[in-house]
Each structure stands twice: as structure tokens, then as C-alpha cells.
Amino acid sequence: MDRRDSLKSLLVGSVAGGMLVTGCAPETKTPHVAPEIQDLPGYGRNEKEKAHDREVLAEEFLTEYELETIAVLVDLILPANAEFGSASDAGVVDFIEFIVKDMPNNQLPIRGGLAWLDIHSNKLHNKVFKDLSVEEQKAICDSIAFPGKTAPELIHGEKFFTRMRNLTMTGYFTSEMGIKDLGYKGNTPGVWDGIPEDVLAEHDVDYDPEWIAKCVDQSKRMDIAEWDEDGNLLT
């Protein structure tokens, strides 16, 4: 199974069997939909959107070789640390494989940027980028990763690297691993009852008691609201 097949199996996930029957779905514009492509697990799509996703999943753009180079590059940009995995561990290569098809304005800059990277590597070391030693790869990154400090003749490399850094970082921090790494605590049913006291104590701002007195008493949130004639809440 190559990377692309594994990506498809990942996206199709556990619902592959159940989604085979797509007879009632609208016709897609692509005549040659690969038979193994089914719907993604549901995420609230309407019919037009499902058809779009199906089309995009059936497309191929980046080659195996390009994806291998991307895997090397995104792990240089965001390597594993003691606690968390690397960008590719978090699924960033698969994310980029999809996003260049879904946002086609990435296609030329990324294909061309990867080619630029190999030309530059060949010029320096007579090897393509992914076959260089890590030290050689990092030396090239050092020359294109710092906007404002790039030699004029390498400016195209800088633009490409910035794009790849953005996609890597956003792909990572929107993955399950990245959100755990970030520490985001929400997206779950709960009750907001104000800033934790220890946090408030660290900041030079306070809750105004008069303001707080008007705020919701969370012990009564399930009580049905009733008012007097003047709009004063009774419950």
C-alpha cells in the first residue's frame, strides 16, 4: 500500500462498506471516479458538498516522489519532541495532499517550489533534497526560512518555504495531536461561570461586583424563565 492508498483508507475509515451505495447522490462532473473512493465520514455536508469532496478525493495531483519530499520537509519544519510527534506523525502530509487539490491555487507554487528545492540541492550537492544529509537539508532551510534575511537569488525558495511552514503549522495545530499539544480545552459541553480565580489574580483587571450580580446564576440555568410586567426576572 503506498501513501496515497493509505490516505484513502484513512479518509474512508470505518464507514467504507456502508457508503458504497451512492445511487441517490447527484451526478458528479468527473466521469472516471475511482471505484474505491467513497464519502468521508459525515461532517455535516449537504449534497453539493458531498459531491465536491468525492470529486476531490478521486483526483490525484502530487506524485509519490513529491509527497516523499514533502514528508521530509514538514518534519524539518516541525520535528517530534519529547511529548509530541512530528508534523508527518500528525497527518500533515495527507493534509497537504488533499489541500492542494481542494485549493488549486497551491498547485503551481508547491510543485514549482519542490522543483526549485531539488534544483538548488542538485546545484549544491548534486543530489535531490530528500536524499541530502539532515545537516545539508538544514543548511538549505537556514538560507530560505528567515524572511528579510534571504539572499536575493534564493527569494523564490523563501516564498515556497513560507507557504510550506504555514501549511505545516496549520495542519499540525488542527490535528488531534496538535490540539492536544496546544492545550485547547473547549469544544465540549460545559458551564461557563467566569474566569478562574487564580487567573484573575494574575491580571490587573477585576470583576465589577455590580456587573457580576446581574450575571447568570448557573444553579438556576435549567429553571424556566419568568418575568414580572417590568421585565424583572423572577426565576
Binding site: 489541500i99 511552514r165 504555514n166 495545530f173 469544544n187 474566569i195 491580571h203 440555568r221 424563565a225 421585565g231
Partner: protein, 573 residues
């Protein structure tokens, strides 16, 4: 292909299922009318798993929630469509600008809106009396107040009694406590002499009945609430109307093309295209309620030409489509160093902001008319596509390397997470006869229906208001002790003023008035030219205050529906 006639004649055909159409559906079906609701998009119910956007993680979307032409505000925003709808274009007159956000689905844009639910105040109905510009409404606050009261109780809105003259209080649920960045705003605004009060959003911090839950604080009202704990027209009006045993028949994917009329000019129903079979149908009805949104309603009326209504239905004044106006908007943001390396906790809260600044300078002489309110944003939100772009740009401010690679990028992202706050002004523009939408004679949509062409330019009133916003933003944000981001937009950029339409408060295309030469509907939203057609979206607004229009659409639709019922009883229609 011939038009397929409906077998039955409905008492009322309601075109559109958003705020106005939803309210009309509820009130008219409860009055015993046999109601047909026509919606140009599919059914939508956030309680159904297949429609659910709420509580999804970014990785559930292969594009990580990014926006697209299919959903302008991102994969998990509840509004299908947006600035562009495939196959349904609109055009603009060269040299003018207008952005038109449409959402084809049951409930329309109420599924994703900001839930900011402000009453218009006494001054807002009579602005001409204050500044001599535009026109007064034919009604005043006292006419609408009883309906605002009823809307508050039926739908629910949190807020606080503040006794501010032009910001009328209502029947409020208690507000949530402010978040940390909002306290920074409160402190800075007060230091600058600018008031801040709890915001007023139609989100249930307490239950208001047994059909709807109370808010569980995920901060995702824009994704549509599976607990029905915020207002949308489907969950709060149309579904209850159906459950209540009313005679409500929904026609989804039904794109209304025109209102049909008889030889006397009286409406007989509507023609619509069924998007599923692409055939045209005629739905017969004794009364037609237009609630397709201000511009879509204007489009349908202008496309409803007949020997009696030669310039389009309701258009003897020539004003259908005219006086189109949107809110003004401008923004600025600030980086607050004290919020770096924050302790992370769940501060999702309700959707939108917990605090805001109502317009505070009604009594002051300024170089522009009318005012604006200020909204606040920031905090430790859930990442989606775009999060992590330019991960260490703020090193420009704090000193440090920009760009680079390696594990340090992780630390950069975490360091700045939740340390940026922004504020946005939303203001009242002065309606202009020469800002309008009309039928484009060169273009039809994929259903064969002539599309709208927009002609809209801001005047110097709006530009000067945006300048005032920027000066205010600078003053308040500097008072946070933070570092302002980006350059202050100057005259060359119209002070950051948004393009017309971008705030999605477009109103005024069928404005109400007592004189049929100078208005399209009467003060009960009824067409002057056709007594059995009502407009219950924001088309009849004469002016729109700096307040978001939804609460007023709801109140006026209820009021107009009551009037409609009375007129039918008295056999006037």
C-alpha cells in the same frame, strides 16, 4: 414545458424561511391558516446528526474547516452558500461595490448569525427629525415595543436593564460573565470614557420552555445549536409551528421566480422552480408573504411584471430595490503582552461577545450623522484552517526571530495563543435613493431567472463615521496597554470601511411609508399596490440604526402577521 398547477389553494404562501418567514409561519399557522413555506435550499435541522456542525473537531474536515465557495465562513459554519452560489450569480455596476451573502437552506442566515439582538430605540425610527437626512419611519418605537416584548419572551435574549434612552431594555435572561480579554476591553473603554455593558444575544442562558435546552457554552452559535439554545428560524419558529399542529407545508429546494397576479392585479400565488426536477410549478395562494431577504424579495417583485404591474409588482413608485443600505464596519486589533503564555482553560462561553459598547454620543455634535456600536473579539478559540500561519510574526513586537523552523515554532504558537484582541464598529449608514439593486438585462441564473445588478456607493457620511471609529479604536486599544497591530487605515483606504453588503445587514429595498408615491409598503408591511402581498423581511426598513436587524425583522413580521389576520377576518383581503 408547461407550468404544473398545484391542486390546492393555500391561504398563505410564504416565500423564504428566515427570520421574517419563520415568524409569519408561526403566527399565521397558529391563526388557523393553511400555510405553504417555500425555501430555495434544502431542509436543515441541527439536531439531526447528518446536519450537525456543532462540536466537531477541525480534523473531521479534510480542509480543516477552511472556507470555500460552498461555505464562505468555513466548513463548520451553518450557512450553506455565502458570497457566491454556484449557478446563481449577481452583478455590480462598474465603479460600484456590493457583496451579497445568501444562504439557501431552511432557516436561511438565521442558522449562523451573530445572535446580536438589539431593539431599535425611539431615535432610530425618527432619524430625519434628528439630523434632517433620509426619512423617518411611519411608525415609532411605541408601535413596535409590544412586539419586541413578545419576541423577547418567545425566543429569549440575554442582557441587562441599563436605562439608556435609545437602547431600550427588554425581558432579558441573565448574561454570562465576561471573559478575560473582555475585562481588558472593559477597563480600557472605561478609562477612555466609553461605556460598556453586557451584550444582548438571543442565546438561552436559562431555559424558556420545555422544547429548547439551555446553552452549554461551546461558543459555536454560528454552527447552529443542536440543543436549540439559540435563535434560528427553523428551530424556534417553523419546527414549533409544525409541532403545534398547524397546517404548515414546507417546499424545500423551491426557487420562487415570480408572484402571479390576476387581471385585476391581485396576487394569485407564486411560480417556482423545483430544483430537484428543474420543472416550474404554480402554487396557488390567497395571500403571499415575501420574506426572501431584502434583495431576493426585490428581485422577485421586479421579475413579477404583468399588464397591471408593468414595472414589477409593488413598484408603481419605482422604489423597489432602491434605498438599499447595509451597516458600516471597521476593525482594529491589539496584541496584549500581559496575555502571553496564558494559563489555558475553557473560555468558549456563549457564541459571540459577552460585552459590548452601545452608541454613546447621541448628544454630541460630530462631523457625521448617526452612530455605531462596538463589538469585541479574542480569546483562546478552537484552531481551524489558518491557525498557525505566520506563527511568530508577533516576534516583530517582542523581539525575536521571525520565520525559522523546528520545535521553537511550537513554543511561538503557544506563547501568543489568546494574546490578541480586536474590536469592530458596526454603524448606521444614511439610506440613499441612488443605492439600489435592479434586474440585470444581460444575465439569468441557471434556473432561467434574471439576476440582480447592484449599484452602491458609500457617501462621505459613512467614510467620516469610519474615521471616527478608527480614532476611537486607537484610543481604547492603546488604553489596554497593548501594542496595536497593523497600520491605522487612513483616507486612502476609506479608514478601513467595509464594502457595502459585507456586514450582511442589507435592508430598505421595499421601504414602508404612508405615501405610496414615496414608499413600497404601508406601515403594516403590505404592498401599496397589491393588498394581498406583504413583505416581512428587512425590505420595509426605512433606516436601520446601528443595530443588527434581526430582532426588528421578527417584531415587525409578528406585527404585520397580526394585521394580516385581522384584515382577513374583516374580509378586507
Amino acid at each position: 414545458m408547461q407550468i404544473i398547477e398545484s391542486a390546492k389553494t393555500f391561504d398563505v404562501a410564504i416565500v423564504g424561511s428566515g427570520a421574517g418567514g419563520g415568524m409569519a409561519t408561526k403566527i399565521l399557522s397558529e391563526a388557523g391558516f393553511d400555510v405553504a413555506v417555500l425555501e430555495a435550499g434544502p431542509h436543515f435541522d441541527p439536531q439531526k446528526e447528518e446536519d450537525r456542525n456543532q462540536l466537531r473537531w477541525p480534523w473531521e474536515s479534510p480542509r480543516r474547516g477552511a472556507s470555500s465557495n460552498r461555505r464562505s465562513f468555513g466548513d463548520f459554519d451553518a450557512a450553506y452558500g455565502g458570497w457566491n452560489i454556484e449557478g446563481e450569480p449577481y452583478t455590480t455596476e462598474p465603479g460600484t461595490r456590493f457583496a451579497w451573502f445568501r444562504s439557501r437552506m431552511l432557516g436561511g442566515r438565521t442558522n449562523h448569525w451573530g445572535r446580536i439582538s438589539l431593539r431599535f430605540g425611539p431615535l432610530d425610527f425618527k432619524r430625519k427629525s434628528v439630523d434632517g437626512l433620509g426619512d423617518n419611519w411611519p411608525i415609532g418605537y411605541e408601535d413596535v415595543k409590544p412586539y419586541y416584548d413578545k419576541v423577547d419572551k418567545l425566543i429569549g435574549v440575554f442582557g441587562t436593564k441599563e436605562n439608556i434612552p435609545n437602547e431600550p431594555d427588554g425581558f432579558f435572561l441573565p448574561p454570562p460573565k465576561p471573559r478575560l480579554h473582555e475585562l481588558y476591553y472593559v477597563k480600557a473603554a472605561r478609562k477612555s470614557g466609553i461605556p460598556v455593558i453586557p451584550s444582548r444575544l438571543s442565546i438561552l442562558t436559562k431555559r424558556i420552555n420545555n422544547q429548547r435546552g439551555s446553552c452549554f457554552y461551546c461558543g459555536q452559535c454560528n454552527r447552529a445549536c443542536s440543543a436549540y439554545a439559540d435563535f434560528s428560524a427553523g428551530t424556534c419558529l417553523i419546527f414549533p409551528a409544525q409541532r403545534g399542529g398547524g397546517k404548515v407545508q414546507l417546499f424545500t429546494n423551491a426557487m420562487v421566480r415570480e408572484v402571479t397576479t390576476d387581471k385585476n392585479g391581485k396576487a394569485t400565488g407564486v411560480n417556482y422552480i423545483n430544483k430537484e426536477d428543474r420543472k416550474e410549478y404554480h402554487l396557488k395562494a390567497k395571500v403571499v408573504v415575501m420574506a426572501a431577504s431584502a434583495c431576493s424579495t426585490a428581485r422577485i417583485l421586479l421579475n413579477s411584471k404583468s399588464s397591471v404591474h408593468q414595472d414589477g409588482l409593488g413598484n408603481s413608485s419605482g422604489l423597489v430595490g432602491r434605498y438599499l443600505h447595509d451597516s458600516t464596519g471597521a476593525s482594529r486589533s491589539v496584541f496584549i503582552p500581559q496575555l502571553m503564555d496564558r494559563k489555558i482553560y475553557n473560555e468558549d462561553g456563549t457564541g459571540g461577545m459577552h460585552v459590548y459598547t452601545p452608541w454613546w454620543l447621541n448628544d454630541k455634535k460630530l462631523d457625521f450623522p448617526r452612530g455605531y456600536h462596538i463589538e469585541v473579539w479574542g480569546g483562546m478559540g478552537m484552531p481551524s484552517y489558518g491557525f498557525g500561519f505566520n506563527p511568530n510574526d508577533l516576534n516583530k513586537v517582542t523581539g525575536g526571530t521571525i520565520g525559522g523552523y523546528g520545535d521553537s515554532l511550537r513554543q511561538d504558537v503557544k506563547k501568543y495563543y489568546g494574546a490578541v484582541m480586536g474590536i469592530s464598529g458596526r454603524g448606521e449608514s444614511v439610506p440613499q435613493r441612488d443605492n439600489f439593486c435592479e434586474i440585470d438585462n444581460n444575465t439569468v441564473d441557471e434556473w432561467g431567472i434574471p439576476v440582480l445588478k447592484f449599484n452602491y456607493k458609500w457617501t462621505e457620511h459613512e467614510v467620516r463615521q469610519a474615521k471616527h471609529m478608527q480614532d476611537t479604536f486607537e484610543q481604547v486599544l492603546e488604553a489596554t496597554g497593548g501594542i496595536l497591530l497593523g497600520d491605522k487605515p487612513g483616507a486612502d483606504r476609506d479608514y478601513g470601511l467595509t464594502a457595502p453588503g459585507e456586514i450582511i445587514h442589507e435592508v430598505g429595498t421595499t421601504r414602508m411609508g404612508n405615501d405610496k408615491r414615496d414608499s413600497v409598503t404601508n406601515k403594516y408591511n403590505q404592498l401599496h399596490d397589491c393588498e394581498n402581498v406583504f413583505v416581512m423581511d428587512a425590505g420595509p426598513f426605512v433606516s436601520q440604526a446601528d443595530k443588527n436587524p434581526t430582532w426588528t425583522i421578527l417584531a415587525l413580521a409578528w406585527r404585520a402577521s397580526d394585521y394580516l389576520v385581522e384584515q382577513v377576518k374583516q374580509r378586507n383581503i
